[in-house]
């Protein structure tokens, strides 16, 4: 069926007009879209930040291989090469006793100065260390045990201890995974809820216009003709609602990101908006349109029978 350009314009005009004609009903629909999409947006941003925080934490996970005090340089080099040859390992760095002590002093800062007083090269309690970084953070425990087993190979037990935040690492992985999964489940649930809320609101709108639809049918309007303005109206409500949501969400997030940046006691930063903004905009506006259109088409279907 060919639709005359004029007719298309009429549908657009009618759809726009309807949004204003329905005044408070439109406001209610738009508000429910804003509320649902806003919560959705907050959760998406939360999940994104937890993810990025978890990624940061992941990259901080290292394996510290402390060497026994009697290990010779040649032995140390042998171990260094063997660990570096493991396919899971991305980098091995040697940190000597002296460097270790200096790093430790730096870490403790002014307050810890007294604690380490009296320790010098001869009394240094810090062992030589091979610091191992892996490609995939989840392989840390496995690589650690592999390094420990190197002791079996050499009779004089060159490795004193292998440390990798045992427990804490595993806990961190569990928590981030849980947060991601719960976050996504929650987001999916909210999206569904928003859809039902909006389809209900639009259903009420259509109920109020039963008469209008009846008259349209009486003067010979086809079902497609009747459906179009409602389609436009739903899309418009979804669009307005989602654009407002994106605006509120981004302004709020920017403020938050700024205050986080200023607060130097916080050990993390928020994912910058220009990295995730476009995707979130597309997602929320797309979802808003989808919800609006879906709500209006589903609601009108049963009024078109007769």
């Amino acid at each position: 069926m060919v639709m005359i350009f004029n007719t298309l314009l009429r549908h657009l005009r009618e759809g726009f007009k309807n949004v204003f004609r329905n005044g408070w009903m439109s406001v209610a629909s738009i508000t429910s879209i804003i509320v649902s999409l806003f919560i959705l947006g907050v959760f998406i941003l939360l999940v994104l930040n937890v993810n990025s925080f978890a990624d940061d934490a992941d990259s901080m996970v290292q394996i510290k291989t402390f060497l026994s005090s009697n290990v010779e340089d040649s032995m140390r080099e042998k171990l260094h090469n063997e660990i570096a040859a493991m396919e899971e390992v991305s980098r091995v760095t040697f940190i000597s006793k002296a460097e270790g002590l200096r790093d430790f002093r730096e870490q403790l800062g002014e307050e810890g100065k007294d604690l380490l007083e009296g320790y010098d090269e001869t009394t240094n309690p810090i062992p030589d260390t091979l610091q191992v970084e892996v490609v995939e953070p989840t392989t840390v425990p496995y690589v650690a045990s592999k390094i420990e087993q190197l002791n079996n190979k050499y009779p004089d037990q060159p490795i004193y201890k292998v440390r990798y935040g045992q427990g804490t690492t595993e806990k961190l992985f569990k928590i981030t995974r849980a947060v991601r999964n719960i976050g996504f489940a929650f987001v999916a649930g909210l999206a569904l809820m928003a859809m039902f809320l909006i389809s209900n609101t639009i259903r009420v709108t259509i109920l109020a216009r039963r008469r209008e639809i009846g008259i349209m049918k009486l003067v010979g309007a086809t079902n497609m003709f009747i459906r179009w303005p409602f389609f436009v109206e739903g899309a418009l409500i979804g669009f307005i609602g989602s654009v407002i949501t994106v605006g509120i969400l981004f302004i709020g997030y920017n403020q938050l990101a700024l205050s986080v940046k200023e607060d130097i006691t916080l050990a993390f930063h928020l994912v910058p908006l220009n990295e995730v903004g476009p995707q979130i905009t597309v997602l929320l506006v797309g979802l808003g349109l989808l919800i609006g259109i879906w709500g209006s088409t589903v609601s009108i279907r049963r009024f078109l029978k007769v």
């Binding site: 005359i4 007719t7 009429r10 008469r211 049918k217 009486l218 003067v219 010979g220 309007a221 079902n223």
Partner: protein
């Protein structure tokens, strides 16, 4: 304009060579609740006729009319309107048949948020007529019903009689071959009713068939037309230039 007239002429000619516009053959209508609204009605209504449908409330007048514009389908029997077999019409085709039938109600059924002009234009927008045609044609029919200078008023700013005139303008704007009127004067005072009747008579004179259900004795008895009386779902009387025949 001419193109849109051509369309309606083409539709009209589908009754090829016959004069009947509406024909019912042994039509029965039983509603799902068991009410027998019509019990074997057979009737022919010719082009250009003016028919009053009389009878007590609940006798089947409304069902009779609803069957014509395919609001209901017959339980049994055949109805043809303009050469279309209404009972067997595919739902998809219903809108196109309705475009050739104008319907008027007791309660006007105007869209309250549209002006008089927009209400009438609505019937043409629906059939996707070009804007220029719409403007010309709407002003033409508003002039015919005497509301040219009130085109931009909302229904709430118009009297009952004026609202019914807008409804009539909407019904005739497509040049339908028949107008179905369900108690068009039911809500109007006698004086206003006469105005509406004169308008319908004028429309009939210009070539449109009119089927009108009414309880208005004075109108039926003084503006003599064909009278079909329905009681208990049967046609009990069918007279040319008949009278109302009831005391209420």
């Amino acid at each position: 304009m001419s193109k849109w007239n051509t369309v309606s002429h083409r539709v009209r000619n589908q009754g090829l060579g016959r004069d009947e516009l509406i024909e019912m053959q042994d039509v029965w209508k039983t509603y799902p609740n068991g009410t027998h609204a019509l019990r074997g009605v057979s009737v022919k209504i010719d082009r250009n006729e003016f028919v009053y449908l009389v009878g007590p409330s609940g006798a089947g007048k409304s069902t009779f009319m609803k069957l014509i514009y395919r609001e209901e389908i017959p339980t049994k029997g055949q109805i043809s309107v303009n050469g279309f077999n209404i009972g067997k019409l595919k739902p998809r085709k219903i809108p196109y048949v309705r475009r050739n039938i104008g319907v008027i109600f007791q309660d006007f059924r105007l869209l309250p948020k549209l002006t008089a002009y927009e209400n009438v234009a609505f019937a043409l927008e629906v059939i996707e007529a070009p804007k220029k045609v719409i403007k010309k044609r709407v002003m033409e029919v508003l002039d015919l019903v005497g509301l040219k200078n009130k085109a931009n008023r909302d229904p709430s700013q118009l009297s009952g009689g004026e609202q019914q005139r807008v409804a009539i303008a909407r019904a005739i704007v497509n040049n339908p071959s028949v107008i179905i009127a369900d108690e068009p004067t039911g809500n109007l005072d006698p004086e206003t009713s006469w105005g509406i009747m004169q308008l319908l008579d004028e429309i009939n004179f210009r070539g449109t068939t009119i089927v009108m259900a009414t309880h208005n004795k004075e109108i039926v008895n003084s503006m003599r037309k064909r009278v079909i009386a329905i009681e208990h779902g049967h046609i009990v009387r069918d007279e040319l230039r008949g009278d109302y025949g009831y005391d209420f």
